[in-house]
């Protein structure tokens, strides 16, 4: 494979995305909802309510979390503990869905979009190999979602540390577990999901069909998000955490290799396969 050509394909796709307002506006809106508006509203609401019985009852439900997760919760008052738990175990994992949503939206349109616009003909006749096209487009789908999540979490970190930090002994987010999530878990899940989305995109007849079908691949990320939000994932030992991540990386690598072989030039041309 020619890395130079992969980067060229990736950069060109990203350049087109950055020029597209119909992509950037929903991206900004989605990120703002998950990283700013929802967390701020809920955390400020708890702030305003204080240690009222409702908040105390929410705080008591934290007892269902695994021991390791419970031990990590900081704060001396029920409202502070509730805010901490929401910040770390509810919002943070939910926002992991953001990269998947963004990347899926891009990835679903990438192959079929080339075909619909007629630009697939140019790529099909170019010297670029199909595996180079596949990887270039996968990176162009992966990067916006992953980068938006990092930027969003940067803003989110400032927000939750400002609201909750003073009550739990200072800045606490991102936690070590969160770094593990973002650096060890999210990339392979996202790559795995994108390999499937791109294969779907190459096979279906329209972008709408690709987006509908690719909704199915959000399932792995929802599972990841759920396990994290209940603290199960990080209630496990370091060895288990490493092992689960490793399995995800291996699955992503296998799916990537298989996807590279599955894409044909005829898919870019949009001709029926005999």
């Amino acid at each position: 494979m020619n890395g130079h050509r992969i980067l060229t394909i990736m950069r060109t796709d990203l350049r087109q995305l950055l020029k597209s307002k119909d992509f950037l506006i929903p991206l900004a809106a989605l990120s703002a909802i998950f990283f700013v508006i929802l967390p701020m509203m809920l955390l400020l609401a708890i702030d305003a309510l204080g240690d009222v019985p409702t908040v105390q009852r929410i705080s008591e439900t934290l007892d269902v979390l695994p021991a390791k997760a419970q031990a990590a919760i900081q704060g001396s008052t029920p409202s502070a503990r509730t805010q901490y738990a929401l910040a770390v175990y509810l919002f943070a994992p939910l926002a992991v869905i953001v990269p998947l949503t963004i990347s899926t939206a891009i990835g679903a349109a990438t192959m079929v979009g080339e075909r619909e616009r007629g630009t697939g003909e140019f790529l099909a006749h170019s010297p670029a190999r199909t595996d180079e096209i596949y990887v270039g487009k996968l990176l162009a789908s992966f990067i916006p979602g992953y980068a938006a999540t990092f930027v969003g979490f940067g803003i989110y970190a400032v927000l939750v540390n400002s609201i909750v930090g003073p009550k739990v002994g200072g800045w606490f987010f991102p936690t070590n577990d969160w770094w593990v999530l973002m650096l060890w878990f999210v990339p392979p899940f996202l790559i795995f999901a994108m390999t499937l989305v791109l294969r779907l995109s190459a096979r279906v007849r329209s972008t709408i069909a690709a987006q509908q079908a690719s909704g199915l691949v959000t399932l792995p990320m929802i599972v990841l998000s759920y396990t994290q939000s209940t603290g199960t994932l990080f209630g496990a030992s370091a060895a288990s955490t490493f092992l689960i991540g490793l399995i995800a990386w291996i699955a992503a690598a296998i799916s990537l290799t298989s996807g590279m072989r599955a894409v044909r030039r005829s898919r870019l041309l949009g001709v029926a396969i005999s």
Binding site: Q16, R117, H125, R265, L269, V271
Partner: protein
């Protein structure tokens, strides 16, 4: 025993390999046979025009030539190699302009060219090459604009500039004047003609007969995925109209008796009389004889069949089940 010293063995000089050779190629899409036992040979440095109605297999042939599509059966060779096995090398030596210009609307003209320059890994000063190619097709003034705002003619010019950017040996142009006004079409065809002056091989698909007229070194007529005939326009016309003909008309008509007296068979076609002769000298003799017999000629029009005449003649013969050139 042959005396090798006196009669050294003569090694026949191999004919130069064609730029493209397709032999007995089949390609189907589902139940539709896009190509059916297609044979095609394209010589280096020539303009070959693939003529045929929509669905004749012209675009599919181009896709097979670059290895973008595999054939179901038959043999494909481009530059003497299998374009599927050596796809990267073959495609690097080809420049393609598709029926739709295949440009990225959100990118500027320059960004579109740069994308191609990088995919084709053009050495040297890419920027200079891009501007030179754009200037050649008169689109250099619009390189900083987004392609989405281009007219159809501008897009075609940019697509042509992109196709020659990497200095390809073989240019494959699929309906390059589609959607263009007559002036732009004429300009594009002139530019295509210029490209062969640089030694490039050009394959152009079209269903517009007037475009191919006088442009093609070789005409290949396709129908239902097969090649009906192939050859230069002059050779094909000579095959279908082996004897020159002349149309005559006169005040009060050309009398049949006078024609019979000249010994030349004539047929009436509408208001005119069509006469087949053996050569240009016969036309002069015929005119002299007719004038001598008191016929006041108003028209002496040597017949010059166009590509359109040839096309419809071939299709008519095929529909009637007549063998190649047999009805002439």
């Amino acid at each position: 025993m042959t005396d090798l010293a006196v009669h050294p063995p003569t090694v026949p000089t191999p004919a130069p390999a064609p730029a493209v050779r397709l032999e007995g190629v089949d390609r189907a899409f589902g139940d539709i046979n896009a190509l059916d036992q297609l044979d095609l040979e394209i010589a280096y440095g020539q303009i070959t025009v693939l003529l045929g109605p929509n669905g004749a297999g012209k675009t599919t042939a181009i896709r097979l030539i670059t290895g973008a599509l595999p054939a179901d059966a038959g043999r494909c060779e481009t530059f003497g190699v299998d374009p599927l096995e050596h796809g990267e090398d073959v495609r690097r030596r080809c420049g393609v302009v598709a029926a739709k210009p295949s440009l990225y609307d959100r990118l500027t003209g320059l960004e579109n060219l740069r994308y191609a320059a990088r995919l084709y890994e053009i050495d040297g000063d890419q920027d200079a090459r891009m501007r030179e190619a754009a200037a050649r097709f008169g689109i250099d003034h619009a390189l900083e604009l987004e392609v989405g705002g281009y007219s159809t003619g501008m897009k075609t010019r940019l697509a042509l500039a992109r196709a020659i950017l990497h200095d390809p040996e073989l240019l494959l142009l699929d309906e390059p004047t589609s959607g263009l006004d007559p002036e732009s079409s004429h300009a594009v065809l002139s530019l295509i003609r210029e490209l062969t002056d640089d030694g490039r091989t050009v394959v152009m698909c079209t269903h517009l007969l007037a475009e191919a007229e006088g442009l093609a070194d070789q005409v290949v007529m396709l129908e239902d995925g097969s090649s009906l005939v192939a050859g230069s326009q002059q050779d094909l016309i000579a095959m279908y109209w082996p004897r020159p003909a002349v149309l005559l008309d006169a005040i009060d008509g050309v009398p049949a008796a006078t024609m019979e007296a000249t010994g030349i068979t004539a047929t009436r076609e509408g208001d005119f009389v069509r006469v087949e002769v053996d050569g240009a000298d016969d036309i002069a003799d015929l005119v002299t004889a007719l004038v001598g017999a008191g016929v006041r000629l108003t028209r002496v029009d040597p017949e010059n069949p166009s590509l359109e005449d040839l096309y419809f003649r071939i299709r008519r013969d095929r529909a009637a089940g007549v063998e190649f050139g047999a009805s002439s």
